[in-house]
């Protein structure tokens, strides 16, 4: 048998170098490991304790990205007298940047978690001071009235805003049909209470179920919409399926989602955010650049998709239609 030729002494690594090389590799490995651990740990903490960024394609529900090919072209003929002609906020932003604490407190949580909501079958209980209290299936309710397209500004109390093409019917039409009694001074709305469908309700962040309300004359204003869709489609779960309130001159939190009860009452209802922080969120919650939130300014807002902040308009620009509702009222005291 032939042994391989011994290498020349010049090719043999000196022992000292060999040891140093081993140490170098060890240090390089420790360097790489520590760098990765530090970097990954920081990124985890910076994203608020989430394993990945909210925008990772994997975590996005496929449903949320299927906007109609050119919504503007499709919806243009439907634009009516209350519609704004400002550019609409992209469907993707409208359906992935939401406050819906029933599915988590981060803006991306509702679009990621709202798949547990079952919007059908769904009934809405119409109660209180009306001629004939009843429970009605949401699809039956929707067929009582022709659906309308409304392109409204939406101003969140957190100083950002959107322009959204809603699909729905005026709340006033429903109220007329229900024939409220003279004792019906307010309308109260309640969201579904079911922590199996709305996992965020397992945490006592707010006093569940979510309740919102309007004075009856506010509720009768033709701007108020019960929406069942947006961008010409059924409401996505994260936007409040199957039926939600839209009150464009008030901060977004007044627009209660996934409604199961509409109640006509004599006394002002105890509404959720008002109960949670009475000095920060009033019952009226009219958009008002003059009255700041105690912790931040309401004078300006960022329109989603825009870089520069824009001035916030009184009543979110709907003063012409609604300012008379509040004549003689101190809007600083009744914020």
């Amino acid at each position: 048998m032939k042994l391989p030729k011994e290498p020349a002494s010049s090719e043999v690594t000196a022992e000292s170098l060999y040891v140093r090389r081993r140490e170098f590799i060890k240090n390089a490995a420790l360097f790489a490991g520590t760098t990765t651990a530090v970097g990954a740990g920081l990124i985890y903490l910076a994203s608020g304790g989430k394993a990945d960024s909210p925008e990772s394609p994997a975590s996005e529900p496929p449903k949320a990205v299927t906007a109609p090919p050119d919504p503007r072209a499709e919806l243009a003929p439907l634009r009516g007298r209350f519609d704004t002609d400002e550019p609409m906020t992209p469907f993707k932003d409208v359906t992935t940047y939401n406050n819906f604490y029933e599915f988590g407190v981060d803006k991306s949580d509702p679009s990621e978690n709202a798949h547990t909501l079952r919007p059908r079958p769904w009934s809405v209980s119409l109660e209180g001071e009306i001629k004939k209290p009843q429970k009605v299936d949401v699809d039956a309710l929707t067929k009582w009235f022709p659906l309308e397209q409304r392109v409204y500004r939406m101003r969140c109390v957190e100083a950002w805003s959107m322009v959204i093409p809603w699909l729905g019917f005026p709340l006033a039409e429903l109220i007329k049909r229900l024939e409220p009694t003279s004792r019906a001074k307010y309308v109260a709305f309640t969201t579904l209470l079911d922590s199996a469908q709305m996992p965020g309700q397992r945490r006592g962040i707010l006093d569940w179920p979510y309740v919102e309300g309007l004075r009856i004359d506010e509720a009768m204003n033709p701007l108020v919409l019960l929406a069942v869709g947006l961008y010409g489609k059924e409401l996505p779960n994260q936007n409040g399926a199957p039926i939600r309130l839209v009150v464009p001159w008030k901060y977004g939190f007044k627009g209660i989602k996934s409604i199961v009860r509409i109640q006509f009452v004599e006394k002002q209802p105890r509404t959720t955010w008002n109960l949670a922080a009475p000095h920060e969120y009033g019952f009226y919650a009219n958009v008002n650049p003059e009255v700041d939130h105690p912790r931040w300014s309401q004078a300006t807002e960022r329109r989603i998709g825009e870089f520069r902040r824009r001035k916030t308009l009184p009543f979110n620009g709907y003063g012409e239609q609604v300012a008379s509702l509040y004549s003689g009222m101190d809007l600083r005291a009744n914020f």
Partner: protein, 220 residues
């Protein structure tokens, strides 16, 4: 940098600490920061600032409790990264969120406690960053330098308050940061009194008397 025991430690922490800013920059360039990118950037930079502040304040307690000395060697770097991310956080707020509207920024700082405490925390970090070099330690003298750098505690406490006031309702995250900070600060307080007690005992003074004497002293 590549010196002494654990030569890889400092470079590794340095490079790792830069990851988030590169990632944020890349995500911003690709338009992947969501519907409200400025708010996302502000949140991330704020969280990073608080993380580094707390990490820097964890070095001494780690030594006190576990006897580890390696965290002390990266403490200055952690503190400077806290300042780095705090500066980016403030610049994002002033430059991008408010688009350098000085009137609005001034109104925010003077009228809104939430902004005011955050700004105060940032201002407190400036002298600390400025005196972070060995030369400055020598110039100030160690005792004075150390006293000055206790402002880091205050900055971290203000940072947590800033975070608590920022959230609309769910304070679980700010409270978690606050709890870690509270543990770190109380470790030092406990260690301080423990050390004094031990000194007394080793000099043959009973512990009860030692405690009594401390009281008289502080009263005088």
């Amino acid at each position: 940098m590549w010196k002494g025991p654990l030569p890889w430690l400092k470079p590794a922490v340095f490079v790792g600490s830069l990851f988030p800013v590169f990632r944020l920059g890349a995500a911003a360039a690709r338009g992947e920061l969501g519907a409200n990118p400025i708010a996302t950037a502000l949140n991330q930079l704020g969280l990073l600032t608080l993380t580094f502040l707390i990490a820097a304040l964890a070095c001494t307690p780690l030594k006190l409790v576990f006897g580890w000395t390696w965290p002390i060697r990266i403490r200055r770097m952690l503190g400077l990264f806290a300042f780095f991310y705090a500066s980016l956080h403030f610049l994002t707020y002033a430059g991008l969120d408010q688009v350098l509207d000085l009137k609005a920024i001034f109104a925010d700082i003077t009228k809104r406690p939430f902004i005011a405490v955050g700004f105060a925390a940032f201002v407190l970090l400036v002298p600390l960053a400025a005196t972070s070099t060995d030369a400055m330690v020598r110039r100030l003298g160690y005792v004075r330098w150390k006293r000055l750098h206790r402002l880091a505690y205050l900055a971290a406490i203000l940072g947590v308050i800033h975070f608590v006031w920022r959230v609309k309702k769910d304070v679980s995250q700010p409270v978690a940061y606050g709890a870690v900070l509270a543990v770190l600060l109380s470790t030092r307080v406990v260690a301080y009194f423990w050390k004094r007690l031990k000194q007394r005992v080793s000099r043959g003074i009973p512990a009860t008397m030692a405690a009594g004497e401390t009281e008289t002293r502080s009263g005088s």
